[in-house]
Every structure is written in structure tokens, then in C-alpha cells.
């Protein structure tokens, strides 16, 4: 496969100031994203996993320019997204779309599905006339397997699965190349989850899309992604091809995440809780390796030296001082 990067992210960081009392001189920051590098090739699904607070959703909001980064660079199709003029931003928004977790929160409760779908078409100058916009909306509805009849409905008149299809249709209607899916199935029931995932795969094939899939559900990411990156406290700690990452993880955190998923088989070995304690605070990040307070293999060096993300095998990057130990090999 020829590698043609569609998105390149270098040294991306985002700090949020936290209100401190007037007694404290030094302002404090939450380092939500703290130096993240990755690239997504055209046509692939790039999975980003991690627990709550690891910064995966902040990465998504930075990528679509809903937030400005505190540092680093995002290049989409070779262009630095920080240096786009108004016209170029509009073009960027046509090419990069995002689908959020809660479709109920992304739809105006008093807006019909039709008007929710055609609004971006006018804003981005895709449709010239109302008739043209309606035609676009109908086609988008058809693509996600919804009846055009539902275009007249309000959000509360649809089921959770239907609402999720609507927000996918709205993203598709502008003809994007890259869609960021932030927990696209975590608000729907399991029987509906499988429908949405199958739909996303089919759309990707038919529309030649590229996905950035953000999820805390490892099984979903494993099934959908070509490449997977694992985030912990604002950093990528491991990245590899999906099959490799899940069968031979090198970072102890990845290994702990995988072993924490209960296996739906009564004869499978019982769960082992490899990670100790809880995620550390993103305000006072631990010294050295950020995972060391929870890591069963932590040595002295882990408490002092911050391990760099390095490529150990082609396409397999890991930030750990003792990657082989972690893998149990």
C-alpha cells in the first residue's frame, strides 16, 4: 500500500488554565494533550484509544479547529491548518467532518432533520438552491439507510440508532474525505451498535473515506481500524498496526487495557487487573514515565526519565523503558 498521508500531526499540545486562588502565584494548567505525533494515511481507519481524561476527545476537537492548539502543528493534505484564510477554512470544513458521541446533543431539538441536514450545505456554499439542498439531504439519508419520510421529523421522534444515522448523514452530505468519529456507538445498544459499525464500514468503502475512530471500546477499534494508537495522560504511549497491537502489545499500559476487557466466554481465564490504582492527575503529571505509579514493572529509571516514543519495529512505536518486560517476553 502506498502511504499517502492525509493528516499529519506534530508535537500537538493543548493546555487549559485552571482557576487557581489569588494566593497562588503560579498559574496551573491541565495538560490535556501534551506532545502528540501521528499521521493518518488516505483510506485507512486510524483508531485512537484510551480511558477517560487521556485527551483523545481534545485531539479530535483540535483537529477540526473547534479549539486552537497551544503548540504543535496539524497538516491536512499538506496544508498547515493554523494558517488557513476564511475561504480555505470553508474548504477545510467540507473535507473534514466530525461525528460526536451523543447524537441527541448534536441535534437542535426544535429543528427538523431536513433543516439540520441542509443548514451546513448553505453555510459551506455547497447547495445553491433549496431544491438542490433537499436533493442532497435525501441522497445522504439514503446512504445511511434512513427513510426520506423521516426528514420531516424532530430529534425526539427518532430512536437512538436513527439519530446516530442522521448525524452521520449530515457529515456525509458535505462530501468529506476525512471523518472523525468520536465514540460513535457508545450511546446506542449493542444490537444497534453492530448496525452502525457495519454502516460505517460500507460508507468508507463506497465513498473512499478516511476515518479517525476515537473510542474506549477496544473491541470496536480492533475490528474497524488498520492502525491503532493508545493514549495515556495526554501522550501516545504505543502505536502499531491493529492486529499487532492487540496480539503483541509492547507497552504495559496497552497490555493492562487489553487484559481488563472481560472475555465473553465462561471458560476463558479470569480477568487480571494489571494496572494498579487510578489514572494520575493531568495537572500534576507524575515525574518520569507518566504510567509508572500504576505500572507493576516500574524501575528507578521510570520514576526519573520520561521515555520517548520510539519505533522498535517497523510501524510499531512505543514509549517505555522496558517494552519487552511489559509484553511478558
Amino acid at each position: 500500500m502506498t502511504r499517502a498521508p492525509i493528516l499529519q500531526v506534530r508535537g500537538l499540545s493543548k493546555r487549559f488554565p485552571i482557576r487557581s486562588s489569588w494566593l497562588e502565584r503560579k498559574p496551573a494548567f491541565v495538560k490535556a494533550v501534551d506532545g502528540v505525533d501521528f499521521q493518518i494515511d488516505a483510506g485507512e481507519t486510524f483508531g485512537l484509544v484510551g480511558e477517560s481524561g487521556c485527551g483523545k476527545t481534545t485531539v479530535a476537537t483540535l483537529l477540526v479547529k473547534l479549539l486552537e492548539p497551544s503548540g504543535g502543528e496539524i497538516r491536512f493534505a499538506g496544508q498547515d491548518t493554523a494558517r488557513l484564510n476564511a475561504a480555505a477554512i470553508r474548504e477545510f470544513r467540507k473535507q473534514v467532518q466530525i461525528v460526536f458521541q451523543d447524537p441527541y446533543g448534536s441535534l437542535d431539538p426544535r429543528q427538523t432533520m431536513l433543516s439540520a441536514l441542509i443548514e451546513p450545505l448553505f453555510v459551506l456554499g455547497i447547495a445553491g438552491s433549496r431544491a438542490q439542498a433537499i436533493e442532497h439531504a435525501r441522497r445522504a439519508f439514503e446512504m445511511v439507510g434512513l427513510d426520506a419520510e423521516l426528514l420531516r421529523r424532530l430529534p425526539h421522534e427518532l430512536s437512538g440508532g436513527q439519530r446516530q444515522r442522521v448525524v452521520i448523514a449530515r457529515a456525509l452530505a458535505v462530501g468529506p474525505r476525512l471523518i472523525i468519529l468520536d465514540e460513535p456507538t457508545s450511546s446506542v445498544d449493542v444490537s444497534v451498535q453492530a448496525q452502525i459499525l457495519t454502516l460505517l464500514e460500507e460508507l468508507k468503502r463506497r465513498q473512499r473515506l478516511t476515518y479517525l475512530l476515537i473510542s474506549h471500546n477496544l473491541a470496536v477499534v480492533r475490528h474497524m481500524s488498520n492502525t491503532v494508537a493508545v493514549m495515556y495522560l495526554g501522550r501516545i504511549v504505543e502505536q502499531a498496526e491493529s492486529a499487532t497491537l492487540f496480539s503483541a502489545p509492547l507497552h504495559p499500559y496497552t497490555a493492562a487495557l487489553i487484559s481488563a476487557i472481560p472475555i465473553p466466554d465462561p471458560d476463558a481465564p479470569r480477568l487480571t487487573a494489571l494496572a494498579q490504582g487510578d489514572v494520575s492527575s493531568p495537572v500534576n503529571t507524575p515525574s518520569g514515565c507518566r504510567y509508572h505509579p500504576r505500572c507493576p514493572y516500574a524501575q528507578d529509571v521510570c520514576r526519573h526519565d520520561d521515555p520517548l516514543l520510539r519505533e522498535l519495529q517497523p510501524g510499531h512505536r512505543v514509549a517505555c523503558h522496558f517494552p519487552a518486560v511489559a509484553a511478558g517476553r
Binding site: A194, H216, L257, P262, I263, P266, R270, G277, D278
Partner: protein, 336 residues
């Protein structure tokens, strides 16, 4: 299968919900039994009635719900028809409930130690048969609080008893809620989606704790979840619910190896797992029916690939295709 005494027996339970001024059946003829030391998993998607079933045990149904028939027995004692006062006694002694969001079940202005001590103030007999002074009682209550926090594997319990809930992480809060439930040495622990709000690495710690408590204190558990993995890891037997009814009941191994009801089977195939490699999971077509407007006959028939003539007409009666197994499906009633 299990010759130990039954802790909980639910028979023919019918519950209705009032929705826009109309009473609608929400639970239909639910039957369940849990024996001492057993863990029964109750699985189903949202709206299947699993939480309603659990809440009817301690009589904690919401105001818009009413029981219209059936029986709930705890240690052989009928619970339906009990007065609020009798139920209060039951809630404080026999049944412990742990829910999804521990923050809502802890008092934000009391330390963990004070909250646990409150339980002993209400029920001083838990401290032992001897009569003792107030001071003695307080000292013992503090000691017991630390002891129970240690039972649920809280690191540094002496420090935790002096802390307020907001100082604890979600996982630690859930541990303290479990500890508070166990203080009363209940006959039955009902755990309703207790790890849903937690991160997976912390969920693994809580699940390991539950498994350990089953061994160490012979805990009897009604485990409610939508996660097949959690059921497989913890439950001895499983009841699968769909739209207000138990559609299959079996021991966990049989259910996972050879699910009989088409919905149970489809549910197992619809969930992607880390182990299933690249095999494609199979979505279930359609959606969960609204209880206000359920399809006639078997409520699963519009989504079922095996549906045949009787499915859209009559509700399938539960049948026993083999020992210890109950299935409510015409495929099996036709054969018997």
C-alpha cells in the same frame, strides 16, 4: 443443579408503568431464582426490564410503576404486600443495592468513616451482642469501618475513613459503596451496572473484587449488566431479558456455548470481541420495540430470522428443553 437454599425467588412477576396516563405492561411473568452463594446475571438491552426487576425486590419501584401480580420471596418470606415500615427493615438488613453512579449514593458532606458509622448507629446490634457505652460504640464503629474498607481492598483504609467522597476516585467511591452494603451482612447483593461509569482498568479491579468476595464471604449476587463479557466472567447462571420478559434462562456455560433463543444467539453474535479476530459480527436488524406499542405475539418476531406462523400471533410460553434451562420461543414449544 444447585441444592443450596434459595435466597431469592421471583415468580410470575408482572409490573406496569404509567406512560402518558396509561398503564402499560413493563414486566411480563418474570421468573427467577438465586441460591445461596450463586451469582445470577441479568442481561438485556435498555428497556428490557432488568433494572425494574431488580428494583421490585426491595420495593423501590419508581412512583409511576406498580406490581400487578406474582410473588417475590426472600429467604422464603413473601415481600409483596409488605408495609413501608417492614420494607425499610428489609432494605436495611437483607438486601444491599449498588448502582451505576456511586457519587449519587454517598453523602457529600460526611466523611466515609462517618457514613459507615451511621449504619452502626441505626443498627448497633451489628457491632456485637454486648451492651456498650456510646464512646465504646463509636470507637468500635470506626474500627469496623476500616475493617470493611479493607475487605473491599481499599488501599490505606485508615486514611480513607477521614476523607470526603469528592476526594476519592470513581473506582474508590464504588468500593466504599460496596463496603457500606456489606456492613449489614445482607442475604443478597444487587449490583446494577456498577462498572458502567468506570474506566476499563478500574472496572477490571472491581470485577476482580466481586469475584473475590464471592469466595471469601459466600456473597449471593444479582448482577445486572449489558456486557456479555462481565456475565461470562462472574455469573453462574444467566437470564436474558427482552422487552419485559425473560426469554432464556440457563447456566452460563450452556448459554454461551449453545444459546437456544434466537435473540440470545443474535445478541452474542452482535458484539465485537477482541478474540473474534477479523470475523464479522452480525447486526440484529431493526430496533427494540416500544413497550407502549409492542408487536403482537412474540415481541422479538419482527427482528427474528426464524419467525414462523405462530410467532406473530401467540406469546410463546416458557418451555424446558433440557434440565435447568428455560426458553420462551415457539421453535422449542413446537418440538416438545
Amino acid at each position: 443443579m444447585n441444592d443450596r437454599p434459595a435466597v431469592l425467588e421471583i415468580e410470575g412477576l408482572n409490573v406496569e408503568l404509567s406512560i402518558s396516563g396509561r398503564w402499560v405492561p413493563a414486566l411480563n411473568q418474570v421468573n427467577l431464582a438465586i441460591h445461596r452463594g450463586e451469582a445470577l446475571g441479568l442481561i438485556g438491552e435498555s428497556g428490557s426490564g432488568k433494572s425494574l426487576t431488580a428494583l421490585s425486590v426491595p420495593g423501590l419501584l419508581p412512583a409511576n410503576a406498580r406490581v400487578t401480580g406474582g410473588s417475590i420471596r426472600l429467604m422464603g418470606e413473601e415481600l409483596l404486600g409488605k408495609t413501608e415500615q417492614e420494607l425499610n427493615k428489609l432494605r436495611s438488613r437483607s438486601v444491599a443495592l449498588v448502582f451505576q453512579n456511586p457519587t449519587s449514593y454517598l453523602n457529600p458532606v460526611l466523611t466515609i468513616g462517618q457514613q459507615i458509622a451511621e449504619i452502626f448507629e441505626v443498627s448497633p446490634e451489628l457491632l456485637g451482642p454486648a451492651r456498650m457505652s456510646r464512646r465504646e460504640q463509636r470507637r468500635l464503629a470506626r474500627e469496623k469501618a476500616v475493617e470493611y474498607l479493607r475487605l473491599v481492598k481499599t488501599p490505606d483504609p485508615e486514611r480513607i475513613v477521614r476523607q470526603y467522597p469528592f476526594e476519592l476516585s470513581g473506582g474508590m467511591q464504588q468500593r466504599t459503596v460496596i463496603a457500606m452494603g456489606l456492613v449489614r451482612r445482607p442475604h443478597l447483593v444487587i449490583a446494577d451496572e456498577i462498572t458502567t461509569a468506570l474506566d476499563v482498568t478500574v472496572q477490571a479491579q472491581i470485577l476482580a473484587l466481586l469475584a473475590e468476595l464471592r469466595r471469601s464471604i459466600d456473597m449471593t449476587l444479582l448482577l445486572i449488566t449489558h456486557d456479555m463479557g462481565i456475565i461470562a466472567q462472574l455469573a453462574d447462571s444467566v437470564a436474558v431479558m427482552y422487552s419485559g420478559s425473560v426469554i432464556e434462562y440457563a447456566d452460563a456455560r450452556s448459554l454461551f456455548r449453545t444459546p437456544k433463543h434466537p435473540y440470545a444467539k443474535a445478541l452474542l453474535e452482535a458484539v465485537p470481541t477482541l478474540q473474534s479476530g477479523d470475523t464479522i459480527f452480525r447486526p440484529i436488524p431493526g430496533g427494540i420495540p416500544a413497550i407502549t406499542d409492542p408487536p403482537p405475539g412474540c415481541r422479538y418476531h419482527p427482528r427474528c430470522s426464524h419467525a414462523f406462523a405462530p410467532c406473530s400471533v401467540t406469546v410463546p410460553a416458557p418451555v424446558l428443553p433440557e434440565a435447568g434451562r428455560v426458553v420462551a420461543c415457539h421453535l422449542y414449544s413446537a418440538a416438545s
